[in-house]
């Protein structure tokens, strides 16, 4: 028996934050888990026939329907009387979650299926070549929000997906980051201890799409949290119940690590706008540690 339920040998890029996240999640969940995966990097790099990295039952159907497929799996387990002894986890990227998958997720949350939905948020469509998604941050240079004479990158901030999930009144919603691995696993275990629909959004750097060294994944992930650009929060039944407090660092410390924000280094005005997003987060969630 392997030490992990997500075994090596898959074809993820070096330094892939999503593959780290996936291993943390499934190893926290344990073997009595069925995984339903949307189309995306994780599905492609972990299950190319005739190989599979998954040591638990795993199913992929389409790009946008994993929340609905999982609803069917969970219903079948209820019918069979085995639901209470089996976790059902949905996995999707940010596009499969916040864009094309949003309707199916909303349905799953509204029906309050006993399922944990995990969004691995690498902030663009990496599998198809770094196109912007609804979770791409403001001013990010992607292949469909390129910088140019008339453009400083992605024109809108991230869609507030955790708040959208929390607004359904489900028992548990949280954000996490692969920069804080124990926190990821704590949140997975906490989510799975609660009956009903849960949503967990994990920030997972993509060295290829974010253009940083593959050895820097953890450092970049931590820097996003420390800048206030990726607040780590928990909601229970729609109410904010916990945040990870920080001593905020300037957003530049985070942005300068990545090629996708390189164009901002010459533009103090744009950096100010990104700093304003971080400041707003810090105030909204009370992120700043009281001295």
């Amino acid at each position: 028996m392997s030490k992990t339920l997500f075994v090596p040998g898959h074809t993820a890029c070096a330094g892939c934050g999503q593959s780290m996240g996936a291993r943390l999640v499934i190893d926290a969940a344990g073997p009595n888990t069925i995984v339903v995966n949307n189309t995306g990097c994780l599905e492609v790099f972990s299950t190319k026939y005739p190989e599979s990295a998954w040591q638990v039952p795993w199913i992929h159907s389409l790009f946008e329907n994993a929340a609905a497929v999982a609803s069917g799996v969970e219903s079948a387990l209820k019918f069979l009387g085995t639901k209470d002894s089996t976790n059902v986890i949905v996995q999707a990227g940010d596009g499969g979650t916040a864009d094309i998958g949003l309707q199916a997720i909303s349905g799953m949350l509204e029906r309050n299926h006993d399922i944990l939905f995990v969004c691995y948020d690498n902030e663009a469509y990496m599998n198809t070549g770094i196109q912007r998604s609804g979770l791409t941050p403001f001013d990010t240079n992607t292949t469909t929000s390129p910088i140019g004479a008339q453009s400083t990158g992605n024109v809108r901030p991230k869609k507030p997906m955790p708040e959208i999930a929390a607004a359904h009144g489900v028992p548990y919603v949280a954000t996490a980051s692969v920069g804080f691995t124990q926190d990821v696993q704590r949140k997975v275990k906490k989510a799975l201890s609660i009956k009903g629909a849960k949503y967990l959004q994990i920030h997972v750097p993509c060295p290829l799409g974010w253009r940083h060294e593959s050895s820097m994944t953890i450092q970049v992930a931590k820097a996003a949290v420390e800048a206030g650009l990726y607040p780590l929060v928990e909601y229970e039944y729609g109410k904010l119940t916990a945040v990870r407090q920080i001593q905020p660092k300037p957003v530049e410390e985070y942005l300068k690590l990545q090629g996708r924000f390189k164009h901002l280094m010459k533009s103090p005005e744009e950096i100010k706008k990104v700093q304003a997003i971080a400041d707003s987060n810090i105030e909204k969630y009370g992120l700043k540690t009281q001295a």
Partner: protein, 393 residues
């Protein structure tokens, strides 16, 4: 027991007796009465089942995909736009070789929006990998659901089955239907025993990526299985006949075609109307008949050849189009005879009953009268010239 039932009620009653553990549906006319009745059975405790009310047909199809993947017999029903919204999931279900049954209450496709019957919805999904059976009446529609589960769950088949019934005409029509007892259904259709499922005791990966080294063989395998379906259906209908006393061919059914000079080929409820006209014309000495196609996918080309090889003139009546080309069923019938020594001299193609326009006995008489030595293609029956004049003159 014979009961006087609305078509939708009959379907709900037979689906209940097939004991699905997961039902998921999204409302669309004219499918609604079926799933309303099933929801009531669950609410009353008459059917032990997880009934999942979803936010779209896309999710309805996805829920039953997940249900059967986890090892539980599952069911959904839809119509028209709903079937189209399910489309990518339906292809996916067939590709994953998951045994499912779906009722399609046939309805026209928008635009213009139209809730009434034709068969453009299911006909458009003919390439999806689903077996398609078309019911002539409510009894057939009901019986075909038992056959459909038996077929789809057969270990040598494992392809999903769509039972198509004309919207309103069959879903909202009321007929005397012989409903089997639960124990009879249980005997014919034992509990589902999946070949593979999502099981933590025996983990498998389902729906995985197949690159160019592997993909084609999966499609070849479905194509080969479709041939097996053509062999399997007549075997199952014999078993069915022994169990319930009703005999179906299951692929095609000839009606007074043995010495016929003119035969109409059709699918679905219009076959009842055609039979009446055939009887009338026969009583006047006209040698006419009907070939009903029950299973459209896989297409029973050989059975069609055998049935029509000595018929001089054949009319194919389509209730759908392949806009810009031959009508869908007509194209299949013509293809079945291409390069064959024996076959009809004329295979004419007629379009009728789109968007719920009634196909009357007069419509059928007109088809027979227009079936002459001069072959026609996509000849529309019952067009209103006064509406066309406004636009084109």
């Amino acid at each position: 027991m014979k009961e006087f039932l609305e078509g939708s009620r009959a379907i709900a009653e037979i689906v209940k007796r097939c004991r699905p553990g997961v039902i998921s549906a999204y409302p669309i006319t004219p499918q609604t009465h079926i799933v309303e009745d099933l929801a009531q059975f669950v609410a009353d405790g008459a059917l032990k089942c997880e009934f999942v009310n979803v936010e779209s047909e896309h999710s309805a199809a996805s829920v039953v995909l997940g249900g059967v993947a986890a090892g539980v017999r599952s069911y959904t029903a839809t119509s028209s736009q709903g079937l189209f919204y399910m489309m990518e999931v339906l292809f996916n279900i067939a590709g994953m070789r998951l045994p499912l049954v779906l009722t399609c209450a046939n309805r026209a496709i928008s635009a213009p929006i139209n809730i009434w019957n034709d068969q453009q919805d299911s006909i458009s999904l003919r390439d999806s990998g689903w077996v398609q059976m078309y019911a002539e009446d409510i009894q057939e529609a009901s019986d075909f659901h038992m056959l459909a589960y038996k077929l789809t769950e057969d270990a040598s088949i494992m392809l999903p089955v769509m039972v198509c019934m004309d919207g309103f005409i069959l879903t909202h029509g009321i007929e005397t239907v012989d409903m089997p007892r639960q124990e009879e259904v249980d005997k014919f259709l034992p509990p589902y025993r999946p070949l593979y499922k999502l099981d933590t005791a025996d983990p498998v990966s389902m729906g995985i990526l197949a690159d160019p080294d592997y993909y084609m063989e999966t499609r070849f395998a479905i194509q080969e299985t479709m041939k097996k379906v053509l062999e399997k259906i007549p075997v199952l209908t014999q078993d069915f006949s022994k169990a319930f006393g009703r005999a179906y061919n299951g692929l095609v059914e000839g009606y007074r075609i043995d010495d016929a000079e003119k035969v109409i080929v059709a699918l679905g409820s219009v076959c009842g109307t055609i039979k009446e006209v055939v009887d009338e014309l026969r009583s006047k000495g006209k040698k006419v008949g009907l070939l009903k196609i029950t299973t459209f996918r896989p297409f029973p080309a050989q059975k069609v050849q055998e049935a029509l090889k000595d018929i001089p003139k054949v009319a194919v009546l389509d209730r759908a189009l392949s806009l810009g080309s031959y009508a869908p069923v007509a194209a299949e019938v013509k293809a079945a005879f291409f390069g064959k020594k024996k076959g009809p001299k004329v295979i004419s193609s007629f379009i009728a009953g789109l968007g719920g326009r009634d196909i009357t006995k007069d419509s059928i008489r007109e088809v027979f009268s227009l079936l002459t030595a001069k072959e026609v293609s996509c000849e529309f029956i019952d067009l209103k010239p006064e509406l066309l004049k406004e636009k084109y003159e």
